[in-house]
C-alpha cells in the first residue's frame, strides 16, 4: 500500500513555542475573567486580608502604597527602581508552593493558600535599604517562627536558607547574569525565630503586589532590605552558614549579617544617615534600624565591624 506523506502540516501550523509555554497563563487568564466577574458581583472586598494589629508596629507614618510598590530593588525584574513595577505583572503567583526542608523532623510543602490561612498580623516596620534610603511599610504576615515550628527543626539546625523562584520566562531580569540566580538569602536560626522576623504575604490590607515579592517574602526589619528574600519557593534548615547572593556578588561590601549599622560604612558610601522616602532632609540611621532593644542581645560579644 502506498502511503503518501503529503506535507499538509508545516512548521507554521505548529503553535509557537513561546505561546505554547504560556498556555497556563491563558487558562488562568480566562478563569480569572470568570472569577473577576463573580468577584465584581460579590463586592469589592474580595482580595483584602484580615490582620490583627501588633505591638511590634511602629507608630511612624507609613509611606504611600504608590511609593512602596513603585520604587523597588527586585533584580529579577530589572535593575532600575521602576523596573519591578513595570515587569513583575507577568509573574504567575498561583499555584505557589513553598518547600520547607533540611534538618527538620517534618519537612513539608506549603501551598500559598495554607500560608494565607495562618493568623495574620499587620506589622508596620521601618525598612532600611543598603543604599541609604528607607521607608515605613505596613506588612501583613506571620512570624517565621510559627512556620518553622511546624516542621520541627532538629538540634543540628543552626541556619535557615531562603531561595527565590527562578523562572526567567517571567522574571526577565534573570536573563542577565547580574546576580547568581536563584537569589539566595540566609539567617541564623535564632534570628529566624526572633518574633520580629516575619514572612509577609500582604501589604496595606491586600495581598503583596508582585514587585514587592509576591506571594510570600521574608522581612527582617533590623537588617538591610536585601536580606528580605522575595517570592520564596524554598526554606531549608541547615547546619552551615548558607551562601547568600549579594555576599557571593561582592563579599567585601555585603556581609552575611548585614545588620543596619550606622558605624560600619559601605565601602563606597556612608551608612550614617538615610533619606526616608517622601521627606527632604536626611536623618540619622539607628543601630539595628531602631530595633536594638529587641535584637541587640542576639549579637552580644560579637564584633559587628567584623561580622558586618
Amino acid at each position: 500500500m502506498l502511503i503518501r506523506n503529503a506535507p499538509d502540516l508545516r512548521d507554521c501550523d505548529v503553535t509557537d513555542k513561546g505561546l505554547y509555554l504560556r498556555r497556563r497563563e491563558f487558562i488562568a487568564g480566562t478563569a480569572g475573567l470568570g472569577l473577576g466577574l463573580s468577584a465584581a458581583a460579590a463586592g469589592p472586598a474580595q482580595a483584602a486580608l484580615a490582620a490583627r494589629k501588633s505591638p511590634f508596629s511602629t507608630d511612624e507614618k507609613p509611606n504611600s502604597k504608590e511609593d512602596i510598590a513603585g520604587y523597588n530593588n527586585f533584580y529579577e525584574f530589572g535593575v532600575d527602581k521602576e523596573d519591578p513595577a513595570r515587569n513583575a505583572g507577568r509573574l504567575t503567583v498561583r499555584p505557589w508552593t513553598v518547600v520547607v526542608d533540611g534538618l527538620c523532623q517534618k519537612p513539608r510543602r506549603f501551598a500559598i493558600e495554607d500560608l494565607l490561612k495562618l493568623p495574620l498580623e499587620e506589622r508596620i516596620y521601618r525598612m532600611r535599604c543598603v543604599e541609604a534610603w528607607s521607608m515605613v511599610i505596613p506588612w501583613i504576615g506571620f512570624p517565621l517562627a510559627s512556620l518553622l515550628k511546624q516542621v520541627e527543626p532538629t538540634g543540628k539546625a543552626k541556619y535557615v536558607a531562603f531561595e527565590t523562584l527562578e523562572r526567567p520566562t517571567e522574571m526577565i531580569g534573570q536573563r542577565q547574569p547580574v546576580l547568581e540566580w536563584p537569589y539566595r538569602e540566609g539567617l541564623r536560626l535564632d534570628e529566624a525565630n526572633h518574633p520580629l522576623t516575619i514572612l509577609a504575604v500582604g501589604l496595606y490590607g491586600d495581598v503583596l503586589p508582585n514587585q514587592n515579592g509576591a506571594p510570600v517574602r521574608l522581612v527582617v526589619p533590623w537588617k538591610y532590605g536585601f536580606k528580605g528574600a522575595k517570592s520564596i519557593v524554598r526554606i531549608t534548615l541547615t547546619d552551615k552558614q548558607p551562601a547568600t547572593s549579594w555576599n557571593l556578588a561582592n563579599a567585601r561590601e555585603y556581609g552575611f549579617y548585614s545588620n543596619v549599622n550606622p558605624d560600619v560604612a559601605h565601602p563606597r558610601w556612608s551608612q550614617a544617615t538615610e533619606r526616608r522616602i517622601g521627606t527632604f532632609f536626611r536623618r540619622k540611621t539607628l543601630p539595628f534600624n531602631g530595633y536594638g532593644d529587641q535584637v541587640a542581645q542576639l549579637y552580644r560579644g560579637m564584633d559587628l565591624k567584623k561580622f558586618y
Partner: protein, 225 residues
C-alpha cells in the same frame, strides 16, 4: 535660505538639543516621573547627561575629520559648556540638596569614597576648560597653549567613566558602554597621532630609497583606511 540664517537655525537646534535633557528632568518633575526618590534620580540623571555631552564633545573632532565636515568643530564649545553645566548641576544637587551642605559628611565622602574623589577631580579639571572657553581667553593663551590645556579632556572623560563604574552596585553594563565609546574615541586619536607621525617621518632625506618607498606606501594605506 541664506547661509547666515541657516547657520543660526542649525546652531539654535544644537543649543536646544543640548538643553533638552534639563527640560526632560523638569518635565518628569512636573508629571511625577522622578520616582519615590527624586533627589537621587535627579543626581543620577544629571550625571548621565554630563557624560553623554562629554562623549558627544569628544566625538565631534573625529566626526568632522571622517565625514570631512570641518564646520562641525564650531559646536564643540557649546557641547562642552553644556557638559560643564550638567556636571555643575550634578555636583550642586549632591552638595546642596542630597547632603544639604553637611560639610563634614561631604569631606568624608570626598576623602574616603574613591568614586566621589574621582568625580570631584574630574569636575575640578573641567573648570579651567570652561573658564578658557571664551574667544578672549583663547586669544590670550594662544592656540598652542590653549590646545595643550584642553587636551585635559582626554583625562577628564575617562575619570568620569571610572566615577560611574565605581558608583554602580552591580549592573556595570551602562558605564561599560560609556567606557567602550570613550576608548574608541580616544583610540582614534592615538591612531591618528601615530599615523601623522609616520607621515611626518616619510620625507626623511637620508633614508634609503627602498625604505622610504615602503613608508610612503604605508602612509597612503593609512590614509585610505
Amino acid at each position: 535660505m541664506d547661509r547666515r540664517l541657516q547657520d543660526r537655525l542649525v546652531y539654535l537646534a544644537v543649543w536646544l538639543a543640548c538643553a533638552s535633557p534639563l527640560g526632560w528632568i523638569v518635565w518628569l518633575g512636573l508629571t511625577g516621573g522622578l520616582t519615590a526618590n527624586p533627589i537621587e534620580k535627579v543626581i543620577r540623571t544629571l550625571g548621565d547627561d554630563a557624560l553623554y555631552l562629554l562623549v558627544i564633545g569628544l566625538a565631534i573632532t573625529p566626526a568632522a575629520r571622517i565625514f570631512r565636515q570641518p564646520r562641525l568643530i564650531r559646536f564643540r564649545r557649546t557641547v562642552g559648556l553644556f557638559a560643564f553645566t550638567y556636571a555643575t548641576l550634578h555636583l550642586l544637587t549632591y552638595v546642596g540638596v542630597d547632603q544639604f551642605f553637611d560639610w563634614s559628611a561631604l569631606a568624608t565622602d570626598i576623602l574616603k569614597r574613591p568614586f566621589i574623589t574621582i568625580g570631584m577631580a574630574a569636575f575640578l579639571l573641567l573648570i579651567p576648560l570652561a573658564v578658557t572657553s571664551t574667544n578672549g581667553m583663547t586669544r590670550r593663551l594662544g592656540p598652542r597653549r590653549w590646545k595643550r590645556l584642553h587636551q585635559l579632556i582626554y583625562l577628564i572623560v575617562p575619570l568620569g567613566v571610572v566615577h560611574y563604574v565605581l558608583m554602580v552596585k552591580r549592573d556595570i553594563n551602562p558605564p561599560l558602554a560609556f567606557g567602550v565609546v570613550v576608548a574608541v574615541l580616544l583610540g582614534w586619536r592615538v591612531a591618528n597621532w601615530a599615523s601623522s607621525r609616520r607621515t611626518a617621518a616619510k620625507p626623511r632625506p637620508k633614508a634609503k630609497p627602498e625604505a622610504a618607498g615602503q613608508g610612503a606606501r604605508l602612509g597612503r594605506a593609512e590614509e585610505g583606511g
